[in-house]
């Protein structure tokens, strides 16, 4: 048999990918505005953020909880640079009013730089330590943004979407435009990750994931590779943050706080921490659930408030718990198991290497 022939699983996946892309490309023509402007656009941009988390986890063995914070930092940088004070500029921030294209570039560069600093601090740890350290980054970012009223304050920066680059134009009046931008960026990020993991850097990173000690003794700089991977993930997160700022208009500490950080992790885990595609699958599942379960009340478990209503967080917590207990590799793991020959064994966690191996 030709070893390069596609397996049934690959054929199915490629077919489904093609169908998904066609449907997504044509979606604005037949879906209603809520679906395209909210659910699908959110899926693309949160999936992008989740993909940065999954990239680190699947190829670097590092589960990072700082990706939400990095996306928020990118949105805050963008907001500070592009918004203008004066009429409508009631929110806090520096209101530099610079050229939006420049703001875009600076937001991406600044976030990547901060990501590299975070990465440098955390790079000598892996596994569970990495999770803890990045979680502190995330919470510190939240409190920093909340306290420093110069650049954000608790209310954050609003109406960022009114200041988009001229080559993009008005996004508020043309939500479809944002939809296609988010769609395009998501595909770009996906292809970029697929490319990166095939480069010598990507291969080395996977070596570092599996055998950090061995890679170090072969002469590879393990912390450097982890740091660079974290920087790349920060770049992806910065794109997500910019899209979020354009979509929602407002970026506030509330967008990067602990619940939001956990939400992103939930998306990634529902999708599966082992495959990049899982990011968008998980984001889609999470956002659809959120939109349709939000108002559902479980008697005795809900707080019946008008603010968020229902008992969404309890339900999502239970679903998250079930996923982690039943299929730690999420939906992509379930899908992969469908094609496994032999008995259905509990899949070994590839994303969780033996935690305590600080090297350096």
């Amino acid at each position: 048999m030709n070893p390069r022939a596609w397996t049934t699983k690959q054929q199915l996946e490629r077919g489904m990918a093609a169908v998904t892309i066609v449907i997504a490309a044509l979606a604005p023509t037949f879906l209603n505005a809520n679906w395209t402007n909210n659910i699908l656009t959110e899926t693309f941009l949160f999936g992008l953020a989740a993909s940065s988390l999954i990239f680190l986890s699947a190829y670097g063995g590092m589960v990072s909880l700082a990706q939400t914070a990095l996306a928020g930092i990118s949105g805050i940088i963008l907001g500070n640079i592009v918004t203008q004070g004066g009429e409508g500029g009631v929110s806090k921030g520096l209101h530099l009013g610079w050229d939006p294209t420049l703001g875009l570039v600076l937001a991406i560069l600044g976030t990547t730089a901060i990501g590299l600093i975070f990465g440098m601090v955390a790079a000598r740890s892996a596994g569970i330590y990495f999770l803890m350290i990045t979680l502190t980054f995330s919470v510190i970012t939240t409190y920093f943004l909340g306290q420093v009223t110069n650049i954000s304050g608790f209310s954050g920066i609003s109406s960022i979407y009114r200041f988009t680059p001229s080559w993009i134009g008005d996004l508020v009046g043309h939500p479809n435009r944002l939809y296609y931008i988010a769609f395009g960026v998501a595909i770009f990020a996906y292809l970029l990750i697929r490319y990166i993991v095939r480069t010598p850097f990507g291969i080395t990173l996977q070596g570092v994931r599996d055998e950090p000690v061995r890679m170090a003794s072969l002469g590879y700089n393990v912390p450097l590779h982890r740091t660079l991977a974290f920087g790349f993930a920060a770049f992806l997160a910065s794109l997500a943050g910019i899209l979020y700022a354009w979509w929602s208009g407002t970026v506030a500490p509330g967008n990067v706080d602990l619940p939001e950080t956990i939400n992103l992790l939930v998306m990634a885990v529902i999708g599966g921490l082992v495959r990049i595609e899982g990011a968008w699958v998980g984001a889609f599942a999470f956002i659809v659930m959120r939109d349709y379960v939000r108002d559902f009340n479980v008697p005795g478990l809900s707080f019946g408030g008008t603010l968020f209503g229902g008992s969404f967080n309890t339900i999502i917590g239970i679903i998250f718990l079930a996923i982690v207990l039943v299929s730690p590799d999420g939906l992509m793991g379930l899908w992969g198991r469908l094609f496994q020959s032999g008995p259905l064994s509990r899949s070994k966690q590839r994303s969780a290497p033996q935690a305590a191996d600080p090297v350096g």
């Binding site: 601090v121 330590y129 420093v148 602990l258 019946g304 008008t306 207990l325």
Partner: protein, 383 residues
Amino acid sequence: MSALAARIPTREQLGSYLTLRKAPLLVVLALVVFAFSYVLFIAVPGTGAYSWRATTFGSAVHDPGSFIRITLDSVTFAAALFIVSSGFALIFGLMRVVNMAHGSFYLLGGYIAYEIQQTLTGQGFSLQGTEVNTWEWLIPLVVAAPCIAVVGLVTQQSFLRWNQGQELRQALITIAISVIIADQIIAHFPRAASSGAQRFGGSAVDLTWPGWTDRFVNLHVAGVSYSLAKLVMLGIGLAVGIGLWLWLYRTKTGMIIRAGVDDQKMTAALGVNIQRAFAIAFAVGSALAALGAVVWASQSNISSGQDGQWLLNSLVVVIVGGMGSIFGAAAGAILYAFVADFSAAYLPSAGPNCCGSYSIIFTFVLIALVLAFRPQGLFGRPG
């Protein structure tokens, strides 16, 4: 003799101590020395004019009273930090479980104690210290702590026990549990608040210290009077520390737990029932979260959303102090409390928005510095 001579550095060896490789260490040392001298000598009381030397209080030389007060604040805050995070460290050290629900346990314990105190005193929303006697503070404590111990035990037995060794999965499980508990806290506490929106708005409630602590003690040093309640808190922290030390180093259970921290498999292979030790450690660790919550909620307050704050506190203490060591937790708590309190109090007031609000950065700097030189934390062991 020759062995001794070999240990005396030659001129070349002396020179090698000051190579470029040591440069980062020297820079850090210089910065630390600068920070100390800034707090002790350089800072001056702010006079309205903006200057890099102007702070709210001025340095220890200018205002010894404030310096002593902030030092005591740090020490007492460290006591509360230690109570909460020693539980986190105990669980992590023995079982390698990062209990992400520790913050939720903290919050739940605090609310349970609050409701009990409200019921006991039959008072409304806010209590005067004089209306609370010692029992009305102690009973909430001794009820809430076992409650949370049971919650922790159930969590460990039903979800974590059969996932032993899968650290990431266990962390994810505790995150899921913390999400559920945090949401249910909003749904049910505080019971006096009628609507969910009220509760979600973070209606802060506070426990009340017993009446006799509600006064200031004259320390007879630089005219400082200090809150007796905070000194009681310090005493409780010390008692918890000594109790944990006695338990871990002077009893058989403690011996088993320390052996488990060193080598789990070997301990089990020697015929020790390590599962029992796990269960005990998890229950005690969770109860410490509740104890810390009662103490800190009496001093400050408790509101939904603080679970993240206290999870952060525990994480920072454990990351800085070293994973899974009780001395590490103490050292981490003291360092973190001092950095947090002193940076908030002694950052220069060099402008309308500067610089006190940047104090949280120093927490990050502390973590970064410790991890840069000791990735395993101050008291952690490598590997």
